[in-house]
Amino acid sequence: MYTQGLLDHSEETEETPEFLAAFQKRIDQEEKIEPHDPMPRAYRKTLIRQISQHAHSEIVGMLPEGNWITRAPTLKRKAVLLAKVQDEGGHGLYLYAAAETLGISRLEMTEQLLKGEAKYSSIFNYPTLTWADIGAIGWLVDGAAIMNQIPLCRCSYGPYARAMIKICKEESFHQRQGYEVMMTLAEGSKEQRDMAQDALNRWWWPSLMMFGPPDTESSNTDQSMKWKIKRFTNDQLRQKFLDAAIPQAKRINLTIPDKNLKWNKKLNNGRGGYSHGPIDWEEFWRVVKGGGPMARDRLRARKKAWDGGKWVRDAATAYARKVKR
């Protein structure tokens, strides 16, 4: 039904060399592409894949943090965590809506997720063992996500860029509340300090992996950069994150769990930056392929929520039919 009217886009674009060149010219001139515009099939497909994965990540990302809502140490922390998790749900919805403008339905995307056919950020397949994990997630995981998301505000596809602007505005409190949790623990008793350090130890490497494989092995980067879907490569973003996070760890006297961490004067065009030790990409691929400790739980929880909500969706549809009559 939604494919009529507003979202009526034709996918019958004939991809002649002239058409592709004209499309690239629009992109090069920083024009935004909007839902009705003709676009190459691969551009549409890449965006559907990226935006839906992003949306799924927001939704699945509610689970590890939701795990601590009932056990947050104070009422303030509980209210903050509730607001954060609610934001993540909202972000998922903005993104599903942006993906729908490309001609896929939210129901299809939901089904792909529940069948295990769609990917989401593998970071959410790690467990949240202690309260300090909530701090580490806000500080590092949201911090890494923000690095990724800020350039997406300038993405060439209008609906995605607009969704990202709203998301980035809301996201900055997420990182700040996480850092504040870590800072409070780091200034606390020895047990609290140890708990903060332990969380940093466990979340550091998975956070670096969030930027994806190194540029030399990233298959989609070139075309996505050309289409201005991506503005920076995985390694460039990872570098920005390192340079921002390391001084933040020092500031609260926590130790980055990387013996090979070094200041390198040559990085960032001679301005200097941190270089890190080797990343365990085997672990990354294992977790991406569903091998994370929590992978099964996450999908089970999503499926339970979807199945459990069915009677509500059915009742709402029946009610709408009744009032229309």
Binding site: L6, D37, L93, S105, R106, K166, K310
Partner: protein, 94 residues
């Protein structure tokens, strides 16, 4: 197979004096649910004082071709712009 709920477009007026602006879309089966869901989804930080929700399929939209024809038409009419007219500087502000 489960049926998709209706898609609605959401417009928010951020304050009196400004027009409603499109912010995104939501799914809902009826108009009250659409309003509530739009409020929860798009105005968690006092973004607006008024919300419109419109079933997406009721909106008729132009295609990019219609629009480029219309634009071409008004591009010929440069005399609609004040800068088209040469008025001596000593006439003063006009």
């Amino acid at each position: 197979m489960e049926k998709e709920t209706l898609l609605w477009e959401v417009f928010v007026r951020s304050k009196n004096g400004l027009s409603h602006k499109h912010v995104g879309s939501i799914h809902a089966s009826d108009k009250m649910m659409a309003l509530n869901s739009a409020r929860d989804t798009y105005t968690r930080r006092n973004e607006g004082i008024s919300i419109w929700v419109v079933p997406s399929h009721l909106i008729t939209a132009s295609t990019s071709n219609d629009i480029s024809d219309a634009l071409a038409n008004s591009e010929n009419k440069i005399y609609r712009h004040p800068s088209f007219y040469d008025i001596p500087d000593d006439v003063g502000h006009m």
